[in-house]
């Protein structure tokens, strides 16, 4: 069944509403919200203990002293509160139950609807980073860089978020062709956590691997903003680092657009 996309005059307000509704929905599961923030406490304790144990009995690597690596891991964990969200899961779900056909009959731009919905979810979790940060500070000391570096970090985080968003979107788009992709998404998430530098800084990887991994889109998600934060990427290299992130964002956004076009063209209702 082919569907024509309705193109009414564009108004922003409905999308703001979509985002608000998504935020409210996330806030409903209070027990879930509470436990996920509270677990930060234990996870920070573990990461501190692990790095302290490693640094106690070995020579510290020059580029990452103990305080820097604890800062790195803690900020990475806070970032993951936002990065781990699959904002466009709703696309996958509505392809599954067929309700996507109804979405297309509504007077809205469907991709923008998905983006608004995802933004609402993400903003809610971004706010959660604050209490999580408060809890983390009970156990660890985090280095705070200069305001300028902090600003570049947030810009880089935003670019990295965009890259993650596109990767999730592309995966969810594959649901146009195959229907069950949860396992594939899990695989991608687990690999991203490792080769993106969330679990272990890429600087600790053997040099040959590092040279490859630092240039992949996964590093653009976690490693680049984090290395800016801890000062390993100096101001003179900011432009190059952000440009590489922007490059990946553009490439993946282009792939996302193509996937979306091809997908909607061959949209087959799954009996919904």
């Amino acid at each position: 069944m082919s569907v024509t996309v309705a193109r009414p005059r564009f108004r922003l307000e409905p999308y703001v509403e979509f985002a608000k509704v998504a935020m409210a929905k996330e806030a409903t599961y209070r027990f879930d919200v509470f436990t996920s923030v509270a677990s930060v406490l234990i996870r920070v304790y573990i990461l501190r203990t692990v790095w302290v144990a490693l640094y106690a009995h070995n020579a510290a690597p020059k580029e990452l002293p103990l305080h820097a690596i604890i800062t790195y891991s803690t900020v990475a964990m806070l970032m993951s509160l936002v990065m781990d969200i699959d904002q466009t899961r709703v696309l996958h779900d509505s392809l599954h139950d067929g309700s996507i056909v109804l979405d297309f009959t509504k007077p809205m731009r469907v991709p923008l609807y998905f983006i608004a919905n995802g933004t609402g979810e993400v903003l809610f979790h971004a706010v959660l980073m604050l209490p999580a940060l408060g809890l983390a500070l009970l156990f660890v000391h985090i280095d705070v860089p200069s305001l300028g570096t902090l600003a570049v970090f947030f810009a880089s985080f935003l670019l990295g978020y965009g890259v993650g968003f596109c990767i999730n979107f592309i995966l969810n788009c594959t649901a146009f062709w195959t229907l069950e992709i949860t396992a594939v998404q899990f695989i991608v998430t687990w690999i991203t956590d490792l080769v993106g530098g969330e679990l272990v800084p890429l600087l600790l990887f053997p040099a040959a691997l590092q040279n490859v991994l630092l240039f992949l889109p996964f590093a653009a998600m976690f490693s680049t903003p984090l290395l800016i934060y801890v000062g390993h990427i100096p101001p003179s290299q900011y432009a190059v680092a952000l440009a590489l992130q922007a490059f990946w964002l553009i490439v993946l956004a282009a792939i996302s657009t193509v996937m979306w076009r091809l997908g909607t063209q061959r949209l087959v209702s799954q009996g919904g």
Partner: protein
């Protein structure tokens, strides 16, 4: 006796349905199997990276940590293969399916364990293969004690795993939605079993030994087989062989809690 025979028949049927379902959804099965490999592969890769950059963690080398991981993986896989449905109790409760189990003539927990799904011993096979490789790689001496105790330790560890899941599942009788708690408990188990328990402070070690005995899943057995001079709480090395008993004791406590919860269960009103 008649009841036991009925249970044995139901259990055989359960495995027959599992295998048939797996064969039916072959691609799906293969993708989840690929995820299982990636899941353990990334964990081990992260350990490898860290222990190449730092040659030892509290006196443990990568080879020894690979063995530590292997014992946990074995126990965890036994749990995932035989008791995975215990982790789904909260789902059964809030979807109201749980009530159906209460009116049938077989033990409720047995019915939970024997709820057919897509269970297949793929992770267990992977764990056995990995464990053999890790044993060889870490240079552990294989003798009669090793051969007798390793399967028992894996079973005991699986009972600890299942006991935790049973306790969280029982909480669902009161709180209905315990998904986040369930997820966090399994995350913590994963993190606390990955590194030698000796890196933690004394109070956390006590907690991991006596309250949530994750340390018995792999740390104590590994220190025994690797002849590590350290021991987190000054227990004799042979404490590592107590895992089967600890597992039994722990699952008994969890089962008592489950019975207690079952008597008070009121359903979600479906």
């Amino acid at each position: 006796m008649k009841r036991l025979r009925a249970m044995a028949r139901a259990y055989r049927e359960y495995w027959r349905i599992n295998v048939l379902t797996t064969l039916e959804y072959r691609e799906n099965f293969l993708m989840w199997f690929a995820f299982t490999i990636v899941y353990h592969g990334t964990a081990l890769a992260a350990l490898w990276v860290v222990l190449t950059a730092f040659p030892s963690m509290n006196g443990w080398t990568f080879r020894e940590m690979a063995f530590l991981y292997g014992i946990w993986m074995l126990a965890h896989a036994v749990n995932n293969t035989f008791f995975s449905e215990v982790g789904n109790i909260p789902d059964h409760v809030h979807e109201g399916e749980f009530d159906r189990l209460l009116v049938r003539p077989l033990d409720t927990l047995f019915q939970v364990i024997a709820t057919p799904g897509q269970t297949f011993p793929d992770e267990l096979i992977l764990a056995v293969v990995y464990f053999c490789a890790a044993t060889w790689y870490s240079g552990v001496h294989v003798d009669a004690t090793f051969l007798i105790f390793v399967p028992l330790i894996a079973l005991g560890g699986a009972l600890i795993d299942a006991g935790i899941n049973l306790m969280v599942g029982t909480l669902a009788f009161w709180f209905v939605r315990v998904d986040a708690l369930h997820w966090i408990v399994s995350q913590l188990e994963q993190e606390f079993t990955r590194y030698p328990v000796s890196i933690y402070s004394r109070s956390v070690r006590l907690l991991l030994t006596f309250a949530f005995p994750f340390a018995f899943m792999n740390y104590f057995p590994a220190t025994f087989f690797l002849h590590k001079p350290e021991n987190a709480l000054g227990l004799p090395p042979a404490a590592g062989l107590l895992t089967p008993l600890i597992g039994l004791a722990f699952v008994t406590v969890a089962y008592a809690f489950w019975r207690f919860g079952l008597k008070r269960y009121q359903g979600t009103g479906h």
